[in-house]
């Protein structure tokens, strides 16, 4: 059984139908990517799956449980976590306090010390800046912090919404390396990217989203080789 199963998901903003009944799934251990142009509905998909935006029709099943109508904070407690578009770290809190917020859903927090050390090991930059106010970090550092924060809850499924957005090429490569690493350590990944080349290269499977519809799917390699994808998302 898939870890995440999305069936006929339809989402509206007022009268605008942003998702027109999409279906996809993520198997345990996979990296799955949704690629698509600006405005295709990628962020809407991510936010609807985790319960921030209500679904009008369809079903979301996570770890065998129907979570379609479950509020976001409860879904997070079930083991889903998201690095939102634009990072959205808590600007007024320190790096350390942001990581504490990430562990908010961990009720008996015995492993907090180990968890945070693990994050500092993965992101040495965050260790150096642990007492710095997050709003004063660079874009790349904020992205690391958003990822670290999302990992503090030991997610079964980690969703990342355009983690490479606005980063320098070196940092982009670093972010993709980290995502591969996180996956290798056992976390299932659902990734949203406009950077189709790099994301398809690390993906087991991928879906192409166009104006609220899934128009293509396949393995990362298949999609990277497809003419349609090459033309639209890989610059020819």
């Amino acid at each position: 059984m898939a870890l995440l199963e999305v069936k006929d998901l339809e989402v509206y903003y007022g009268v605008i139908r942003a998702l027109k009944g999409i279906s996809f799934e993520v198997e345990k251990g996979e990296i799955v990517t949704l690629i698509g142009a600006n405005g295709a509905g990628k962020t809407t998909t991510m936010q609807s799956v985790i319960g921030l935006i209500p679904a009008r029709h369809g079903k979301v099943i996570f770890d065998g449980r129907d979570i379609t109508k479950t509020p976001c904070h409860k879904i997070v407690h079930l083991g889903m976590s998201q690095v939102p578009e634009g990072r959205r770290v808590f600007q007024e809190l320190t790096v350390y306090e942001n990581l504490m917020m990430g562990a908010y859903s961990q009720k008996d927090n015995n492993s907090f010390k180990e968890d945070i050390d693990r994050i500092y090991e993965r992101f040495p930059r965050l260790a150096e800046r642990r007492n710095q106010i997050a709003g004063t970090l660079s874009g790349g550092e904020q992205q690391m912090l958003a990822m670290g924060r999302a990992l503090m809850s030991h997610p079964k499924l980690l969703m990342l919404d355009e983690p490479s957005m606005g980063l320098s090429p070196i940092l982009v490569d670093q972010v993709f390396e980290i995502i591969k690493d996180i996956n290798r350590d056992g976390t299932t990944i659902l990734l949203v990217e406009q950077n189709a080349g790099k994301s398809l290269a690390i993906s087991d499977r991928a879906y192409v989203l166009e104006t609220g519809d899934i128009v293509l799917s396949g393995t990362g390699a298949e999609l990277a080789a497809s003419d349609q994808v090459k033309k639209a998302y890989l610059g020819g």
Partner: protein
């Protein structure tokens, strides 16, 4: 000597404003709404103190009863009046809050009548140090307020729930992604604000024993002004703004030429400060996110 007395008076009035302003500012920061009924919760607390004093006669029990009742009242107001409006236009919420304010005032009038009640909390007497005469109620007000403000600051900074409050006030969506139940945090915020309002009612009745259904109206408006002066949404801002308002009020009252215009002068302070710092003394200038 007289100036020191005036200053202490200002600090005690100001700390009462600060305690009320905290309720406005925390609710604004977290639920992004102006709870115009907040001042009337003070009044309800006043009547609870009145009822306790006339039945049991112990002011401390009266305060506890008022705090408990106001906390429950605040939670109920939020649940019944505001929660259904989550996501509605700010104007709808504002009108509702004004409606709740009138509802509380009218209900009090129906139950207790319109003639003011005399509520003598206790005879506290004065502290005399040399030529200095300081009423004890001022010291009690100041002392309690300092403890409350300190406790609240520590609560927000160092507890799991307090940090969740900061997170919600900054970004509701991101807070939910941390697993924070935003509705629960809003409820807790209303509970704290309303409990503080009961303390403010107690301080006000210690100072002046006349209780009517409009007890909270003017202090409510002034404390709201204080919250804006300090920077609405900012906890230290509410404290600074409240103290400033109180000190200005106390000083103005001792100068015969301007004493009658004291209220106007306090609002003038607001205007002047907003001219120079549009988001208040400690308010954040919101940076646009890219």
């Amino acid at each position: 000597m007289e100036f020191i007395e005036t200053l202490l008076n200002g600090l005690s009035i100001g700390s009462t404003y600060a305690i009320i302003a905290l309720g406005y500012t925390m609710v604004y920061g977290i639920a992004k709404m102006l709870n115009f009924a907040h001042g009337d919760v003070i009044m309800v607390g006043g009547y609870m103190i009145f009822l306790s004093l006339t039945s049991v006669g112990n002011p401390i029990l009266g305060l506890l009863a008022a705090v408990l009742f106001c906390v429950l009242l605040g939670i109920s107001i939020e649940k019944v009046a505001y929660k259904p409006l989550r996501g509605a236009s700010p104007l709808a919420v504002l009108i509702t809050a004004i409606g709740v304010s009138y509802l509380l005032q009218s209900t009090a009038q129906i139950i207790f009548g319109s003639a003011p009640k005399m509520v003598v909390v206790a005879d506290f007497g004065n502290l005399t140090v040399g030529e200095l005469t300081i009423p004890y109620y001022m010291l009690i007000t100041l002392g309690c307020s300092v403890v409350i403000m300190l406790a609240l600051s520590l609560f927000v900074k160092y507890t799991r729930t307090g940090r969740a409050m900061i997170a919600v006030s900054e970004d509701k969506g991101a807070a939910q992604l941390m697993g924070i139940n935003v509705n629960a945090i809003i409820t807790i915020t209303f509970a704290i604000g309303s409990g503080l309002a009961a303390f403010a009612g107690f301080f006000m009745l210690m100072k002046s024993p006349s209780l009517s259904n409009t007890l909270g109206a003017m202090p409510g408006i002034k404390a709201f002004t204080a919250a804006v002066i300090g920077g609405i949404g900012s906890i230290p801002g509410a404290m600074v703004g409240g103290i400033l308002m109180g000190v200005v009020e106390a000083i103005s009252l001792t100068i015969p030429a301007i004493a009658p215009y004291t209220d106007a002068i306090e609002f003038l302070v607001l205007i002047v400060i907003l001219l120079f710092r549009p988001s208040g003394i400690l308010g954040k200038v919101r940076r646009e996110k890219v």
